[in-house]
């Protein structure tokens, strides 16, 4: 079973969102997503200062199998990106919930967080996917 930390929220497109103490939201891809994609070779990050709408494609994770868009789980302004991933994309495979985070957002509307799944719902969602 993949690792689904209870303190995080999840999007149907397999991003996780962590609310930090300062109100910003750290975004990465779930353990299940990194496992499905396999070994990462390139990561393309959004730009700091970029304003994103919820569900907007804003980053690309490319593995040996496929290149996939990453969507913003909530709307907001990008305040930090994880530059270290450009040189070592494999960090996403090794520690997606820790050092493998992709970017940090200042959400425009915190209420949007409510549309995301909690850990239990995300686990059910993973189990229900056709394949």
């Amino acid at each position: 079973m993949s690792n689904v930390p209870v303190e995080l929220k999840y999007a149907k497109t397999h991003e996780y969102a962590r609310v930090n103490d300062d109100g910003s939201v750290t975004v990465g891809i779930s353990d299940s997503a990194q496992d499905q994609l396999g070994d990462m070779v390139f990561i393309e990050l959004p730009e700091v200062g970029q304003t994103l709408a919820a569900a907007e494609a804003c980053a690309v994770v490319e593995s040996v199998k496929a290149a996939s868009d990453v969507y913003a789980p909530v709307g907001g302004e990008v305040v930090e990106v994880n530059e270290a991933l450009v040189d070592s994309p494999e960090t996403v495979n090794q520690d997606t919930y820790g050092e493998g985070w992709l970017f940090r957002l200042q959400p425009a509307d915190v209420a949007e967080m409510a549309s995301l799944m909690d850990a239990e719902a995300y686990e059910e969602f993973l189990a229900s996917e056709v394949h």
Partner: protein, 529 residues
């Protein structure tokens, strides 16, 4: 040459199968006969050398060398080189040995079963090659006057006519040089059509999530936004999502039918009506045309434009880079926009149709007639099949796929869409093996190489995890299909009893398991001394 520059890549260390497989249960009793013969150990260091590394100053092979006393008086002095190019200096025997060794490393349709799904790796009849190489075709200069190329033009005209006939389209252009360029041509014509109608608000192309990656890429290249449509549980386009997505912004939809999931899109008529009612057009990705050739026509399904991969369906070579050919067929409403040149026939003579007749053409995709030599091979292939033969391609391609699917199902493999009849290809998912044994589709694929089979397509389509997309084509015998099933069964047993055999596969190839991350990140394509 400086010897210290030599080990650009390390010669692979070959381990004899007997050492490596000694512990594998029953391996020798059943499996050994299929094992690929082992490459000779690289004791002398020559097996993996480049031709440049064989070079020795002053050594010559003159038998096939070009004349060195050519008249260059008409070349401006500025353009003449002053020193000889850095060609390898080797003996004739060295050249023969070097390239013969290289050819023995090939894994190709001429040597192995090659069930690479979505690629249609069928046999390329030798006759097509022989006839396309007749001196009259080979030596024809593209600038030669039309009167001197009537034979070639007749062949191209007839190929256009045959492709029109078998796809149900109004006109065909042969010039796109490959499938991707064919796609670009098709969507560029959709755009030209809407633009000509002053219909410029349409900015979206619908693409099912099962599509080839080239489809959304093409739409973007033509300036459209991509709207992805999900697939339902049976592998068809999700009609509810499609209805919700279609609107006045819809320029068209790009569909592969049968889809990459190896099933026929059953509600194609309904989809076509829905798109047409909204003012959009339908694009047919011909990647899977082999499944329906001569049986059903995309034109009759309601498609407005189709590209064909001649290097798939019409059996022209596409190993080692092809080149390909991606002719495009169009319905009446797109005919004015067709790229040129197209060959016309006035009942007497063949001629080039040019911009005078087709002022709205989207332009030219190649300076001349595209990959003319490839088109010739496809023409000869089509002529050899005839109309009666064409549907037999689809008959046997689907029969072979369904036979393989049934036998693999019987052997305990899980197919992705068990309730559906396979088209010319089908998907096996190794999700269970991955969960229970930690064995991935890639491990299975690599191990198949040891059994002398080219691996099926892996990890495509993206919708199905740990998948193998298997396409046997119509040119394989039942014995070959049976041997493939036996290999799959044995590999399954190995996965259960000695998984390291799969994890470390291939064991018998000139190159062992690649570090794919490094291969993707640190491309090393150019040799330098």
């Amino acid at each position: 040459m400086n010897p210290t520059t030599r080990p650009r890549w390390q010669p692979c260390k070959y381990i004899h199968p007997q050492e490596r497989f000694a512990t594998a249960n029953g391996f020798f009793t059943a499996g050994v006969s299929r094992l690929r013969s082992a490459p000779a150990e690289d004791i002398d260091g020559k097996t993996n050398m480049l031709i440049f590394e064989h070079s020795h100053t002053g050594r010559r092979a003159l038998a096939q060398s070009p004349q060195l006393n050519a008249d260059v008086s008409d070349i401006p002095v500025d353009f003449l080189r002053t020193e000889a190019p850095g060609m390898p200096e080797v003996s004739e025997l060295q050249v023969v040995r070097h390239y013969t060794r290289l050819s023995q490393k090939n894994f190709s349709i001429d040597t192995q079963f090659y069930p690479l799904g979505s690629c249609t790796m069928k046999y390329n009849p030798r006759a097509c090659n022989t006839l396309a190489m007749l001196p009259g075709f080979l030596a024809r200069h593209p600038h030669a006057p039309v009167s001197m190329g009537q034979g070639f033009l007749a062949c191209m005209y007839e190929l256009q006519e045959m492709l029109k006939d078998v796809t149900g389209m109004k006109a065909v252009t042969l010039t796109p040089a490959a499938g991707a360029q064919g796609e670009f041509t098709g969507v560029a014509m959709i755009r030209a059509y809407h633009d000509a109608n002053g219909d410029t608000v349409r900015n979206e192309i619908l693409v099912p999530d099962a599509a080839h990656g080239t489809n959304p890429a093409t739409a973007v290249m033509c300036g459209y936004k991509v709207h992805e449509i999900p697939t339902d549980r049976q592998g068809d386009v999700d009609m509810e999502a499609l209805r919700a997505a279609v609107g006045p912004q819809t320029a068209g939809i790009m569909l592969t039918n049968p889809s990459t999931l190896g099933v026929f899109e059953r509600r194609i008529k309904e989809i076509a009506d829905l798109i047409h009612e909204a003012g959009g057009l339908l694009y047919y990705d011909g990647a899977n045309l082999n499944a329906i050739l001569g049986k059903v026509r995309p034109g009759d399904m309601g498609f407005d434009v189709i590209h064909m991969n001649l290097h798939k369906t019409f059996s022209t070579p596409h190993g080692g880079g092809g080149p390909g050919a991606g002719p495009v067929g169009v319905s009446k409403r797109l005919e004015p926009f067709i790229p040129l040149p197209v060959v016309g026939h006035d009942g007497d003579e063949y001629y080039w149709i040019t911009e005078d007749v087709r002022p709205q053409s989207i332009g030219r995709l190649s300076a001349f007639m595209g990959n003319a030599g490839v088109l010739m091979r496809a023409y000869i292939y089509a002529r050899m099949l005839g109309r009666e033969g064409m549907h037999r391609v689809a008959d046997f391609a689907t029969l072979n796929a369904n036979y393989l699917m049934a036998r693999l199902t019987e052997a305990g493999f899980q197919v992705a869409y068990p309730g559906r009849r396979a088209t010319h290809e089908f998907i096996v998912t190794l999700k269970r093996q991955q969960k229970e044994l930690g064995i991935t589709a890639m491990d299975f694929a690599k191990r198949l190489l040891d059994y002398n089979f080219h691996a099926p397509t892996t990890y495509f389509p993206l919708l199905v995890p740990e998948c193998l997309l298997i396409e046997p084509t119509e040119t394989e015998t039942r014995e070959e299909l049976d041997a493939f099933v036996e290999a799959m069964i044995k590999i399954q047993q190995e996965a259960e009893n000695s998984p390291e055999l799969l994890k470390e596969a291939p064991h018998t190839q000139p190159v062992r398991r690649l570090d794919e991350v490094r291969a993707a990140k640190q491309l090393d394509l150019v040799w330098s001394a």
